[in-house]
Symmetry: C2
Subunit: 422 residues, 2 copies
């Protein structure tokens, strides 16, 4: 019989120590967002192939794991060349849009949703990139006001502070921008609306190629030198304590509804009263965010000292309506769960000592039924007191057995023989 | 753009109220088994098609959702007619065998594993039967002693008592038998070993067709009338307080190693000192359990008054070795998570009152930035005290909004206007 011991390519087996960390982080995520009034929801792993190919997914649509039709469905399908009618979800956004459309009449309004689940992408596996991984999304659907942004940023900052304080990290930066400010700046500089997305893709590389690189790339693409000059000059006006309102009036001028920077300033000043001292809120006009479905505020959180974001999101008021038929404003945050776990693991995260008391009885198999009963009665009593107790046979290689238990946080390990006093 | 709002056939969207129940039950499961020294592990949703077709899965192997190869792999595959090289797991047993084989060198020994995860079966959807559902398996690998059985039955009884006491149910019956006793009885009655599995399939229908039905079916199948007579007479010896040792000496005689009933009696008397008063342990010689991989003790838990089991399992000492190359004794329990959740829902399970205090501020959008700041500062303060607070815009249909929040356990809901005192 052929049997393959390794997991399917790009997918992971999680050891008990991995799981302790993952479940601990998931617990803090669930607990924190619950306190901000978020409700957990769940959608199936599989989605209709039509939904997965609806252009919300961007590049991820090329990475779908397709699930084959079965039996008679398959025979029927083969005639038309279609052998797959569903696929594994590549993100939690498509399922959310479908979920909201399917259940909106019985859901709270606004819906403040926490969705945690695995997603699958047939990506080239590499360090830190897997074909199955856990995503964690927060979304507020049905709230067009800035309360959505405020709740999302405040809750996410609190969640990150709680998690990372356990490894001594408390400094985060929340970068905030607005797609309308991006557009206002580009318009004021003289770019045509249909070129905006292309311009923003280049701007998005700023942190790698610098402002000169952005300038060069734009010129190479054939954009008018005056527009490029005007545009890149705007980013020269960025100062450490940038106030959105001032910056926008200097750059966008009449190309931007003045309510946009006013809201931005309210979001930032309100959130600054809600977060822990290590959290900096920065208006960052260079922040782009890849997905084209964003319509307003966009945000990204970085840990100071790491060069990638650990959470990101924004407002996407048109997308739900496009898919659900009926429009609904929406704003969301996606948490880089796997990145967070990787950082904590690299920093040798350890369960706080003393939270769980762990004891083990290693019983010699020749100890006899009466001794066994004594041990189990004692274990039952200790468990009733909230102590974790494992009863297991004493191994011949007891040294390895004891070491493994110690690594798992067992502090009192007793060997039990026929004459041991319990 | 075509968009389908309903989930893929046979799969579920879970509403916030569903999720509160599911997460609550999962929390009690995790917490209880942790206290008995079980470690959580996780395996990927996908498995190699070879592993899924290795005959552990029984009838479930006909229900595999196959995942298509991609790109070049697919082209290559099509030439040989093979277009799927992996599939979604239909249970957690096959992944466990692979996991143990892949990681045994770094796992504790014995491994006491809790695995919670979704499985997929392309079954005909019907009430209570879904194409994606959550399984919850407990297994002890590497313990050939009865300590494994004792820990598994005691922990599972405690878990069920904790969960069901919340809806007023405390009476459970753990039915215990041993495949070797089943075989000993059949052998003593005169059946040939190669007919045992067939005989047990008929015996397994006892609860539906009665002892007379079993007799009739066996005769119809052409078994020797003397064997059928002797066999069915044995089941006449079942009494309410059946002691395994006595029963086996009367029925199996020399066809059974006497250590088997001795162990059974030790398991039952030891566990009886570890469980809550409502839990009855019953030696049940009619218990069969479907899967042919069981080699020793088998068990099933029923709630008194319900006619189906909510957990079941047994010892399967040969299976891991068959797949992992190196043999390892194993014993496991599979929890009927979806059944448990369904029963609790039917009995109107409600979150215990007062565990979480929930308050909401419904803010009129015209209240202004200063009032908003006041509300959020108050909310931040309350959250720091452990209170759940949701801040959201006041809806035009405030009545529905308030009712929905009340249903979700919000007890203090305040509407906030520009002139409201916070």
């Amino acid at each position: 019989m052929k049997f393959i011991s390794t997991p399917v390519k790009g997918m992971n087996d999680f050891l008990p120590s991995d799981m302790r960390l993952r479940q601990h982080v998931l617990g803090l995520i669930r607990e924190t967002y619950a306190r901000y009034g978020f409700d957990e929801i769940e959608t199936p792993a599989m989605e209709h192939i039509e939904n997965l190919s609806g252009k919300i997914g961007g590049e991820n649509e090329k990475l779908i794991f397709k699930v084959m039709k079965r039996g008679r469905e398959l025979e029927k399908g083969l005639q038309t060349g279609e052998i797959a009618d569903s696929g594994l979800r590549y993100d939690l956004t498509v399922p959310l849009a479908r979920y909201y459309s399917n259940n909106r009449n019985v859901l709270p309004s606004p819906l403040k949703a926490l969705q945690i689940g695995n997603v699958w992408r047939a990506d080239k596996p590499q360090k830190g990139r897997f074909r199955q991984f856990t995503q964690c999304d927060l979304d507020i659907i049905g709230d067009s006001s800035i309360m959505a942004e405020i709740e999302l940023i405040a809750a996410t900052s609190k969640m990150l502070t709680r998690i990372f304080s356990e490894v001594g990290i408390s400094e985060f930066t929340v970068h905030i921008n607005d797609r309308r400010i991006l557009k206002g700046m580009a318009a004021a500089a003289g770019f045509a609306p249909e070129t905006f997305d292309d311009v923003f893709i280049i701007l998005d590389k700023m942190d790698k190629i610098g402002i000169d690189g952005v300038k060069e790339s734009l010129l190479e693409k054939g954009y008018a030198p005056e527009a490029v000059e005007a545009y890149t000059a705007m980013f020269g006006k960025i100062t450490p304590d940038l106030v959105c309102g001032e910056f926008c009036s200097q750059t966008c001028g009449s190309c931007l509804d003045e309510q946009v920077p006013a809201n931005m300033d309210t979001i930032m000043s309100t959130v600054s009263h809600m977060v822990d001292p290590g959290v900096s809120l920065v208006f960052d006009p260079t922040l782009v965010r890849g997905m084209s479905y964003y319509t307003g505020t966009i945000f990204e959180v970085t840990i100071d000292g790491y060069n990638f974001s650990i959470a990101g999101g924004g407002r996407y008021d048109d997308m739900i309506g496009r898919f659900a038929g009926q429009s609904a404003p929406a704003c969301g945050f996606s948490i880089g769960f796997e990145r967070i776990v990787t950082i904590l693991k690299d920093l040798n995260w350890k369960e706080e000592e003393g939270v769980t008391e762990r004891r083990a009885f290693l019983v010699d198999e020749k100890a006899g039924a009466e001794k066994l009963l004594e041990v189990f009665e004692k274990a039952t009593q200790m468990r009733a007191e909230g102590i974790t107790v494992s009863v297991q046979p004493l191994r011949k290689n007891a040294k390895f057995q004891v070491e493994t238990l110690e690594k798992s946080g067992y502090t009192e390990i007793r060997k039990v023989y026929a004459d041991t006093q319990i």
